[in-house]
């Protein structure tokens, strides 16, 4: 099956001061399949939100897209955002639900007016009645009450607002929905409802696939088929979520997994250790592997050159020197994951 979205070697930097660049996304490639949820996880500052903006073609000064290509359904999609150029693909091919989207609803406008604005920005001649019909139909299809259209944002709960935003972001039937931390301000019940809505959007084929950006690994474990782990603007590891979580190959992923608080730890009373230190300064990232200053398996090669991509099992790859010298060469029977430390 051909891939729905293919992005190669994306680079996007933020301009600082007169001549500096913060290399927020530095050579990220990814691919998305139809009907799939791809999780993008990492700490604050790893570049996942920037990646979301680049994929949705909404990058704006001081964020500049420095390189990379993206194809959706085989057709090339322009990455540079801004007001010039053809913006017709935004929202219709790839749609972004940015962080804190539910707070961006205009408090003085009813939801239905917002819907009208969104649809009108893509088709200036659309009639208001038509936009309402489309919205109502979509809400019904997704088992949400149509009365939300007549409400003001403050009359809706946080969870309902976020779901409304999700519906509006997909009204134009984009092929890909990128959700940046959609669950962060929500209670657990509302989180579940929102994720159920997103799954419903996929199952009803309203959208083709979802990129879910979050730092909460338990959420990805439960909804994402594949997950990529980002660190300091680059990819560390990509693979099926089950494998990335339960058989992590990259040292950073291993540390992340060990640092995650889970319900089960109460019964075992194990002490959980978080990651020490912090992400590097992206205006002057460390040479070689960007994680090496915090990595307990760091080798000499790690500070000197960019690590190779290692494939511990089919569909699962990681970028790491330590892994490269520990993993048996690909001719051997490969699929038993990374070697133990």
């Amino acid at each position: 099956m051909p891939e729905l979205l293919v992005a190669k070697d994306l680079r996007a930097y933020y301009r600082t001061g007169l001549s500096g660049w913060i290399r927020a996304v530095d050579g990220v490639s990814l691919s998305l399949n139809e009907g799939e949820i791809l999780g993008v996880a990492g700490e604050s500052g790893c570049g996942k939100s920037t990646l979301a903006m680049v994929l949705a073609s909404v990058a704006r000064w001081p964020l500049c897209v420095k390189g990379g290509t993206m194809h959706v359904d085989g057709r090339s999609v322009p990455l540079s955002g801004g007001l010039k150029g053809d913006g017709s693909h935004r929202g219709t091919v790839v749609s972004l639900m940015p962080q804190g989207a539910m707070n961006s609803l205009n408090p003085t406008q009813r939801v239905r007016d917002f819907v009208f604005d969104v649809l009108r920005s893509h088709d200036p001649h659309v009639a208001r009645a038509e936009t309402l019909d489309r919205a109502r139909e979509r809400l019904e299809k997704l088992h949400l009450p149509a009365r939300v259209l007549d409400a003001y944002p403050h009359q809706l709960s946080g969870g309902m607002k976020q779901r409304v935003v999700a519906v509006i972001s997909t009204l134009l039937d984009p092929r890909v929905l990128i959700a940046d931390e959609p669950t962060s301000a929500l209670d657990v019940g509302a989180q579940r409802a929102l994720l159920a809505l997103m799954v419903e959007l996929l199952e009803q084929r309203i959208i083709g696939s979802i990129v879910l950006v979050t730092h909460e690994l338990p959420i990805l474990r439960n909804v994402a088929q594949r997950t990529m782990i980002m660190y300091a603007g680059q990819l560390c590891e990509t693979g099926p979520t089950e494998e990335v979580i339960f058989a992590p190959a990259h040292p950073y992923t291993k540390a992340l997994m060990q640092a995650t608080l889970v319900l089960e730890s109460a019964t075992k009373r194990q002490r959980i250790e978080g990651l020490e230190g912090g992400p590097p300064d992206l205006s002057q990232p460390p040479g070689g592997c960007r994680f090496h200053p915090r990595c307990r398996y760091a080798l000499e090669a790690c500070s000197q050159s960019v690590p190779p991509t290692v494939v511990p099992s089919a569909g699962h790859d990681a970028v790491c020197w330590w892994l490269a010298q520990a993993t048996p060469p690909p001719t051997a029977a490969a699929s038993d994951g990374a070697a133990e430390p």
Partner: protein, 287 residues
């Protein structure tokens, strides 16, 4: 401090800020250095009455034969002086009333804001007229004081609103938990956060005060025995300058009044623009 550096960087790039700053600085220099450079006594008769700029450069003489340019310099200086005193008084009273009302809330807020609202509804010009009439002779400082004392309600309301919203912030709770007194919290944890706002309030109050002084002077209730822009205008009115076509006695003061208020208002709006998308260093949440 980094905040200041960031401010300067954004400020320098703002066209509005640069223009308005230049305007204001030029006017201030004109008012302060001018008299020093030119060195006349403004009241000295230097030429014939109502001599035009053609015969008596650069700006002619008024109906008493005094040099118009010198009069303008001294006038601008006095007007700015009055404006500055008024601005200072208004901001000081406004800050005290506003922070107390905004920080303590409850009864204190109701009482103070109630009084403030009542004062706002009384037309300041009426009060000023009455005060000016009551005070037989008025110096520039007195003018500044009375204008300041009638214009603080605006600043007080704005400061109360700002303080009210700051009151719920966590650093205030932390200060309380560290045993800081109410006064201490206001001085150390509230005022630094509204300083930029107070700066803007001062510029606005200054601009309005200059115009208020001009209005009062036109009514004959301005500072006595001094020269201000308003008084220059009053004289030109009294001596029928318009009818006689003696434009150099009323156009220059009007021009300077406009430049002063425009410059200050533009400065105020550019400062607002600079302070408002304020990036707080709140990113990054690693251990």
């Amino acid at each position: 401090m980094l905040v200041r550096v960031r401010f300067l960087r954004t400020a320098i790039h703002s066209g509005r800020f640069n223009t308005s700053l230049v305007l204001v600085v030029l006017v201030v220099l004109f008012a302060l250095l001018g008299p020093v450079i030119v060195g006349h006594d403004p009241n000295a008769v230097v030429g014939s009455m109502n001599a035009s700029p053609a015969s008596h450069p650069p700006l002619g003489t008024d109906n008493f034969g005094r040099d118009e340019l010198t009069l303008l310099m001294y006038g601008t200086r006095t007007s700015l002086e009055i404006g500055a005193i008024a601005g200072l008084v208004a901001v000081l009273i406004g800050v005290v009333v506003g922070t107390l009302a905004g920080f303590y809330g409850g009864v204190v807020e109701e009482a103070l804001m109630g009084a403030t609202n009542v004062l706002i509804t009384i037309p300041a010009i009426v009060v000023l007229i009455l005060l000016s009439v009551a005070l037989g002779s008025r110096s520039a400082v007195t003018m500044g004081l009375i204008i300041g004392v009638t214009s603080w309600p605006w600043t007080a309301r704005a400061v109360a609103a700002q303080t009210s919203s700051l009151r719920t912030r966590e650093h205030i709770d932390i200060a309380r938990l560290s045993g800081a007194s109410g006064f201490g919290i206001i001085v150390r944890d509230v005022i630094p956060y509204i300083l930029s706002y107070l700066g803007m309030a001062f510029t606005l109050q200054l601009a309005t005060a200059v115009l208020t002084e001009a209005a009062l002077s036109l009514l004959g209730l301005g500072p006595t025995n001094t020269i201000s822009l308003g008084i220059l205008l009053q004289w030109s009115l009294l001596w029928e300058a318009v009818r006689q076509g003696v434009w150099w006695t009323f156009i220059p003061p009007t021009f300077f009044l406009s430049v002063v208020s425009f410059g200050l208002l533009l400065l105020n709006s550019s400062l607002d623009e600079i302070y408002n998308p304020r990036l707080q260093g709140g990113g990054g949440s690693g251990a």
